[in-house]
């Protein structure tokens, strides 16, 4: 304080307009995203009322009203010779004075899709920003699924540009680091993989085997909904070599280069749900009579039990296997409708191709295990929902009380070669 008292009268002799103004930066080269301290020195600083720092890159200006006149600023835009201007205002009415300093703000530019579809090849290219700076080493990393893949490119082709390319299969964080003009620069982006729009084709051929069915005994099966080729009702998704083996329905690929190197993903699928309904030939109009009988099931029931309802009876069996009455897609009143609904509704079972689309692993064997488990899981959910028969409350085709399926009917006894007329049918379609 005593010094101030001593010096102030002495400095008062120098007018403000004659002050010496300079501005400096704590660093000549600044990495994008980093900060520097900018200092304005005014000699003498007696009448300084405010120093305003303004920037060529258009960033908001900053000001300081007390010595030391300095600010900290983070530089986010790469630019060669970015001019920082310090404008000094004085309280004694002297005109403002300015001083400038140039700094280089450098960084890395990174190009390449950040939302590629899974399996797309993407080339990520890094170079200096602004372009044209010498870079000797690019250090890349990709962090995804708890795994960090790295690659060091020593720029042996001397073009100061680096490209890391490969199929992208898993979302993660891509980062590249390099020394530009003496400072370490890092560029990081998030990569979000877009799932492919996969869905499992479904079809059902109705009443597909005219020769199917056995004699209409009390335990005969009236109709069935099943896989079209194997005739296996438990097999909802094919190709399926053995139970739970979907190796023929999917292809898998290992990524051999780029950020996702070492990851295995599902590259394609031919999985389908192809069902058929079959109706017992013995119950149809004109169907064969059981061995030893003079009448077929249709005529016998029309005569003694179901009167003119026989066509509805056969239709009810067909509708039970297919899409209910009337036939409606995703109807809960038919096995195939339930299959459609179960695949459509992820809360019930979901679409197995969709479920498998995003599966990833670090080895082919692990991926195959995941695929098989995933599809098997969906298949079990679907079977639990669509394969049951005790839905008497859900419509006329399911065989509840008074329904055609479990109502009275005549069935054939092969042992005694007689009909049991108008007895309760079994709930088995």
């Amino acid at each position: 304080m005593r010094y101030s008292v001593f010096w102030v009268p002495a400095l008062m002799a120098v007018p403000a307009w004659a002050a010496d103004v300079t501005v400096s930066s704590s660093a000549d080269v600044i990495a994008v995203g980093n900060s520097a301290t900018l200092t304005c020195t005014v000699t003498p600083s007696t009448y300084v009322s405010r120093v305003t720092f303004s920037y060529e890159d258009g960033a908001p200006s900053q000001e300081d009203t007390s010595a030391p006149y300095e600010v900290q600023r983070t530089f986010n835009v790469a630019m060669d010779d970015l001019t920082v201007t310090a404008t000094v205002e004085f309280s004694d009415g002297s005109p403002t004075q300015q001083a400038t300093v140039d700094v280089d703000v450098v960084g890395l530019a990174l190009s390449g899709s950040t939302s590629p579809s899974r399996g797309w090849s993407v080339a990520y290219t890094a170079r200096s920003d602004p372009q044209g700076k010498v870079i000797d080493l690019f250090e890349w990393s990709y962090t995804a699924g708890g795994v960090v893949n790295t690659w060091s490119d020593y720029d042996l082709d001397n073009n100061d540009v680096s490209t890391w390319a490969g199929k992208m299969v898993i979302s993660g964080t891509l980062s590249v680091q390099a020394v530009v003009c003496g400072v370490t620069c890092t560029k990081t982006v998030s990569v979000t993989i877009a799932p492919r729009n996969w869905s499992t084709p479904q079809s059902c051929n109705v009443d597909n085997e005219s020769d199917w069915g056995s004699e209409p005994t009390a335990s005969a099966v009236m109709g069935e909904n099943r896989d079209r080729e194997s005739n296996d009702k438990l097999r909802y998704f094919v190709p399926q070599a053995n139970d739970g083996d979907f190796s023929q329905a999917f292809s898998v690929s290992g990524v051999t280069s780029g950020p996702c190197q070492g990851w295995w993903y599902v590259s394609g699928s031919t999985l389908v749900c192809q069902r058929e309904t079959v109706i017992n030939k013995y119950i149809k109009a004109g169907g064969p009579a059981p061995a030893g009988a003079s009448q077929n099931f249709y005529d016998r029931n029309a005569e003694v039990c179901l009167d003119d309802l026989m066509d509805e009876f056969v239709q009810a069996v067909g509708n039970h296997e297919y899409r209910g009455t009337p036939a409606t897609a995703r109807s809960e009143e038919g096995h195939y409708g339930r299959i459609e609904n179960g695949i459509y509704d992820a809360e019930i079972a979901g679409d197995p191709r969709k479920a498998a689309e995003g599966l990833l692993a670090r080895s082919s064997a692990s991926l195959w295990s995941l695929i098989n488990l995933t599809v098997e899981d969906v298949e079990d959910d679907l079977h639990a929902y669509a394969g049951g028969e005790s839905w008497s409350a859900d419509g006329p085709n399911w065989g509840g009380p008074d329904a055609l399926g479990s109502g009275l009917r005549s069935t054939w006894n092969p042992g005694s070669q007689t009909w049991s007329d108008c007895v309760n049918g079994v709930e088995k379609f």
Partner: protein, 339 residues
């Protein structure tokens, strides 16, 4: 035994962090909506996959199955017991079927019996076949709603179930009642002795649909035998391939040609089977969508699919195919070929 079970149940019930088996299984018996059933089922399946927790989950399911009389609820429980079963689970399902007074309950558990037999750990299958084989055989032979499930279960026991299944296949009444279940089951045994029987049944199939099923069963069987490192006699091998290739002709019935392409592709490597590859390539332009679909599926994931001329053919299907399923399939084949 009872106190051990009780201890497991109590220990699990006390745990608050993870879903409790007893409560979850109890929920399974009360929920009705499909989404709720699926949600609880998934929780239980995850529990069954955890080596530490699995015994408690299985115990809860076994306990619930014993007293359950409603077919639909018993079915839910049975299917879950069949997810990662052990011998006790298979025994419980079998016993519940045998003791069930009403047919719907037997029928409700039939699929669980099949699935549980198939999903038993490989090392337990031989013991299970020995222990439960006679009962399964008896169940399969009788005209009951669970008979088909028992036939299928014997098939899924694999090689240990093979002699029992072959015995069953000799019974005319069973062949008449469950012709397709026998075809499928024989195809699932992975047993060389089943090949001649299965080939004969396929050749004798009374309808195209049953022949198609037979082709699928034969091809699955050949594939399984090869994967297990098994071998067939030269004569049996010749008979089997003759059966599979009989309809591998462009002028064959489309349904059978399609099945033959799929069956041959299942049993062999398209890249190494010149005849199959030639027919499959020709079939991409077949008049039947079913055949085009089979051809595209056979070529999927083969080296042929990457060949430029084959890609062109498949691309034409992907762009111009009128059948939506084949169009989607062709696109999938292309996508696979480009990877």
């Amino acid at each position: 035994m009872k106190s051990a079970l009780l201890a497991i149940l109590l220990a699990t019930t006390r745990s608050s962090a993870a879903p409790a088996p007893v409560e979850s299984v109890a929920t399974l018996t009360s929920v009705r909506s499909a989404a709720e059933v699926a949600s609880v089922s998934r929780t239980i399946r995850r529990g069954l996959e955890d080596p530490v927790q699995a015994p408690a989950w299985r115990a809860a399911l076994l306990n619930a199955l014993q007293g359950e009389a409603k077919p639909e609820i018993a079915r839910r429980i049975g299917l879950l017991l069949a997810w990662r079963p052990d011998e006790a689970a298979l025994a419980a399902i079998l016993e519940r079927i045998e003791s069930a007074a009403d047919r719907p309950l037997q029928e409700a558990l039939a699929d669980s019996l099949t699935l549980a037999a198939g999903r038993l750990p490989a090392e337990q299958k031989a013991v299970a076949a020995q222990r439960f084989g006679p009962r399964l055989l008896k169940l399969a032979s009788a005209p009951t709603p669970a008979a088909e499930g028992a036939v299928r279960g014997l098939g899924r026991l694999g090689a240990p179930g093979c002699p029992l299944l072959l015995e069953l296949a000799r019974q005319q009444a069973v062949r008449a009642r469950h012709p397709e279940a026998l075809l499928i089951a024989l195809g699932e045994t992975g047993c060389a002795d089943a090949v001649p029987v299965l080939v004969r049944m396929t050749e004798e199939a009374s309808s195209a649909g049953r022949r198609v099923a037979g082709l699928m069963a034969v091809s699955g069987l050949l594939r399984a035998i090869r994967q297990d490192g098994g071998a067939l006699s030269a004569d049996t091998e010749r008979q089997a391939w003759s059966c599979l290739r009989r309809d591998l002709r462009l002028d064959a019935d489309p349904e059978l040609l399609a099945a033959s392409i799929r069956a041959c592709a299942t049993a062999s490597d398209v890249d190494e089977d010149a005849e199959l590859a030639a027919v499959a390539l020709e079939s991409l332009g077949h008049a039947s969508a079913q055949v085009r679909s089979a051809a595209a599926t056979a070529l999927f994931d083969s080296a042929l699919a990457s060949r430029p001329d084959v890609k062109e053919l498949v691309r034409a299907l992907a762009d111009h195919e009128t059948d939506a399923t084949v169009r989607v399939l062709a696109r999938d084949v292309l996508a696979g070929a480009e990877h």
